[in-house]
């Protein structure tokens, strides 16, 4: 198998994809949950929206960094 494919590169793709995919999904889902909670409970809206904004900022930064890494290579 190793003579046909770069196993180290493949392992990197698998690990990075899992970490990035699950990390972005986790943050985005938390942001969605916070936004829905803010809609349902206006009393805690500011705190929930701040949480959502923080999560979305991290997601945005991760995406930009990832794109930069790919395109600058």
């Amino acid at each position: 198998m190793s003579q046909y494919v770069d196993l180290a590169a493949l392992r990197n793709v698998l690990v990075v994809s899992l970490v990035a995919g699950l990390g972005i999904t986790l943050l985005f889902a938390v942001a969605v949950r916070a936004l829905v909670t803010a809609d349902e409970h206006p009393g805690s809206a500011i705190r929930q929206r701040l949480l959502a904004a923080g999560c979305l900022l991290i997601v945005g930064a991760a995406v930009i960094a990832g794109l930069w890494a790919v395109l600058a290579k």
Partner: protein, 387 residues
């Protein structure tokens, strides 16, 4: 004069291939966004077209990688490139008519292999490269994308609980659009450049460019426009298959499928692994179905897709070999005749496909049997009570 005509036909054939690549692969980025209603069909394909166009200009690193290493560069001639491209076009149009998402890149590689074998024999084909660049990635890429999408879907449903709070669908649709944009951009950086690479090799073979030259500016502009135009036309049949026939997709699943596909695609590009956009997105859509509890997956459709994937390379190679037989000696008249014949056959195929047209207006109308099969599996108790 004859050489100029031959070169013109080859360049035009490559443009047509790039166009079919665009409309065949629109589904990769936009099928789930259209299926979940995140975007209307026409704006969705327009957005994908613009991002494909942009992506084609962002980098030329992928250019020339598709043919180099697969076959010996010194056997590449204009008739070989012509036959290879035409074999790939025929396969793309056939799978589009059947609504099957298959890899345009594999069709192109298969076409180049078939045309080379006819022109120069099997010794000019590098079997090791085919296994490393085509076979192994074809097997692994949908598995990786499917695994990431399945786990991400499970996570998204556990945290956001969209079944109990359907209002969350609105937010997932926004995320889905951003991820679909990333897939479109990545598709433009990969697929448009594969054809640019092949046509650059043809120009080098015809002594129009020095060896190891980068694609000229006119090639980059022309092929970027061709793939964007094809994307805007929209391969609605493939969009319907990926968006509706494989599994019923909700916005959270659309988000996780597109995010997983974009991440695997970009990570593989960064790592230098040549993966197929079609295989990755199809695997991710399937994974998003597996990841959602009680979701129904139409394994028959998935099986047809896998059969198409397996057949893509040998079928395109066979077609290119058949096309390559009469043109392998470089006769311009032969190439002109074959090109006219192919144009006629493709026109007839398009006319036949139009009898059961799938377009922007009816792409989300699932035919009754498929609709019923999904309903029966998702709401069996309701169906029993209703009857």
């Amino acid at each position: 004069m004859h050489d100029a005509l031959l070169l013109f036909i080859v360049v035009t054939t490559a443009l047509v291939f790039d166009f079919t690549n665009g409309f065949h692969d629109t589904a990769n980025a936009m099928a789930t966004s259209i299926a979940t209603g995140a975007l209307k069909p026409k704006p969705a394909v327009a957005m994908s077209a613009v991002l494909n166009l942009l992506g084609a200009f962002l980098s030329i690193k992928v250019a020339a990688t598709i043919a180099s290493g697969i076959v010996s560069a010194d056997v590449i001639t204009l008739p070989v490139v012509f036959a290879g491209l035409l074999g790939a076009i025929v396969w793309n149009v056939a799978t589009w008519a059947l609504g099957l998402p298959s890899s345009s890149s594999h069709a192109l590689i298969g076409g180049v292999i078939g045309a080379t074998v006819v022109a120069s024999g099997t010794s000019a084909v590098h079997g090791h490269s085919i296994v490393a660049k085509v076979v192994v990635p074809a097997v692994l890429s949908p598995i990786i994308a499917g695994l990431v999408a399945a786990l991400a879907t499970r996570l998204a449903y556990r945290i956001a609980r969209p079944q109990e709070r359907p209002v969350s669908h609105r937010y997932f649709r926004f995320g889905q659009l951003a991820a679909a944009g990333l897939v479109s951009l990545a598709h433009g950086t990969n697929d448009a450049q594969k054809t640019m690479g092949v046509i650059t090799l043809a120009l080098i073979a015809d002594d129009q460019l020095p060896a190891h030259a980068d694609p000229p500016v006119w090639v980059i502009i022309a092929y970027a426009l061709a793939i964007a135009a094809g994307t805007y036309l929209g391969g609605w049949r493939v969009i319907r298959t990926l968006g509706h026939r494989l599994t019923h997709i909700e916005p959270p699943q659309g988000f996780t499928a597109q995010t997983s596909a974009a991440i695997v695609l970009l990570t593989a590009t960064q790592g230098g692994l040549p993966l197929s956009t079609t295989h990755i997105t199809s695997g991710a859509v399937l994974g998003s179905g597996v990841g959602k509890r009680a979701a129904s997956i139409r394994w028959g459709v998935a099986g047809s897709m896998v059969v198409a994937w397996v057949l893509t390379l040998p079928a395109a190679a066979l077609m290119a070999a058949l096309i390559g037989l009469p043109v392998r000696h470089g006769s311009t008249a032969g190439v002109v005749l074959v090109a006219l014949l192919a144009a006629l056959v493709l026109f007839l195929a398009w006319r036949v496909a139009r009898r059961h047209a799938v377009n922007a207006h009816n792409v989300n109308d699932i035919p009754e049997p498929a609709d019923r099969a999904i309903r029966d599996q998702e709401f069996p108790i309701l169906e029993e009570k209703a009857s």
